[in-house]
Amino acid sequence: MSLIEAQGLERRFGGETVLHGVNLSVERGEIVTIVGPNGSGKSTLLRMLAGALTPSSGTVTHAKGLVIGYVPQKLTLETGLPMSVRRFLDVPKRQSDADVIHALKRVSAETLSARQLEGLSGGQMQRVLLARALLQKPDVLMLDEPTQGLDQTGQADFYRMIEELRQELGCAVMMVSHELHVVMSASDRVICLNGHICCQGTPEIVQSAPEYRALFGTGTHGTLALYRHEHDHTHDHVHDENCAHGEDA
């Protein structure tokens, strides 16, 4: 069976419906990327699939004994909480030193072990969060905007690492992103979200889907358009409306 199955997911926050009518499943070993404009419900969907958020209606079914390696968007750590990287990797369960060294090496963070979490940079923190998730030996790795705050090279490296990890561990990967041009090439499946699933499929299919074009710009073609789009959010709003319009009918 599928690792995760979601049916008729809906989520409201204070009377506002953020997400509705979402049906989807995650299969073993696939890389799924969720894209969509700000406020389209990407993180909400991921957190519901991970079990961190209860849907207002609909169901999320996890395969029996499913282990999730969850990498939150960011960790808002209390400054009053002393926590070294090494200790953090023991959350929730204690890990052997050998496993910890291996996981840290895997994400090129082996020098960070003794550091306090407080003092880490955004990129270092991201690696540590990923290492912690890897130590859970997850069936599915869930990442919420993992490349936020990384520069171009950092992003490319990060995605390459995720792809290698999938090869190595055979785990499914589900991530939320707005960096389309990089994600698209690494994903088996892209889900285009805007309050509901606008369209989904392989990167090529999604890229040429009219719903996707409506969301992410039609001025130019191909990846360059997507890339440019990142720096030009002024069109988002208009296109969002177009998309919602076409789908809700």
Partner: protein, 261 residues
């Protein structure tokens, strides 16, 4: 040995301080200082309750502390900010408590409950204090993994199969127990100090949550011991003396951490 009032006072103060020192770090991490304060203020209402219903002061205070928790959850669900909700609860409960105690026409000195009176603890009080200490310690050991995961992040706890709400409930109950026994030793107005100050003193010197809890307990114990000694020596009130020593230790801890840097 426990027939001696001085020995009883020492063990009572140590027990309360160590229990407060154990959960103090969690109060700091979850920013629940004002919550603990509201529970402590409401304790006076609990004292009045205990007169009204002829139950022990411990039970009365425990009830009032839990009432605070319920009121707090209700108010914050009704769009009140948490600090205004706690402000309303803490001071209303204190005011109603003072009025109720006066109306009960019992010959009680309210100061005993506001500032504590560790020199008059009975053997039964002492037994209760140490039972609470053991229960809180056992709970911490039992829930430790879940608690730390929850402190780090709600989402990590949820995706690891823990329930943040359950851990929070556990912490609230532990807090209510500590407040209920702390009234006797350091009093309603100063029990929050024993939750916060030892934990804050420990913070600059530790690199893990475990170390912070242990060092917090040590600081709390030393404060209780030193404070009581000082109270005997200078003939000062015990509760405030204990908190004074805790505060002096905090300043020393801060100085040491500045010098070491």
């Amino acid at each position: 040995m426990l027939d001696d009032f001085a020995a009883r006072a020492l063990f009572a103060a140590l027990g309360v301080a160590m229990a407060a020192g154990l959960i103090g770090p969690f109060v700091v991490w979850r920013r629940m200082a004002y919550f603990g304060d509201a529970m402590a203020h409401a304790a006076i209402l609990g004292v009045a309750l205990s007169f009204g219903f002829a139950i022990s002061v411990f039970s009365g205070v425990l009830l009032s502390a839990l009432l605070v928790a319920v009121l707090f959850l209700t108010l914050t669900h009704r769009n009140q900010t948490s600090d205004s909700a706690l402000g309303v609860i803490a001071h209303s409960a204190l005011a109603f408590g003072l009025v109720a105690v006066a109306m009960s026409r019992q010959a009680v000195n309210v100061e005993t409950y506001l500032f504590g009176d560790v020199l008059t603890v009975a053997r039964s009080d002492l037994a209760m204090i140490w039972q609470v200490l053991l229960v809180v310690a056992a709970w911490l050991i039992w829930r430790w993994r879940a608690l730390v995961t929850w402190i780090v992040s709600d989402d990590l706890a949820l995706t690891s199969g823990y329930h943040p709400k359950r851990e929070e409930l556990g912490l609230i109950l532990a807090l209510a127990l500590v407040v209920a026994v702390g009234i006797k030793a350091v009093g309603a107005l100063l029990i929050t100090a024993m939750l916060i100050i030892p934990a804050a003193s420990a913070r600059p010197h530790v690199r893990s949550p475990e170390a912070m809890v242990l060092l917090s307990v040590v600081f709390a114990g030393v404060s209780a011991f030193g404070g009581l000694k000082a109270a005997f020596m200078f003939d000062t009130p015990a509760g405030p003396s204990i908190v004074c020593v805790a505060a002096v230790l905090f300043i020393c801890s801060l100085l040491v951490s500045v010098i070491r840097r």
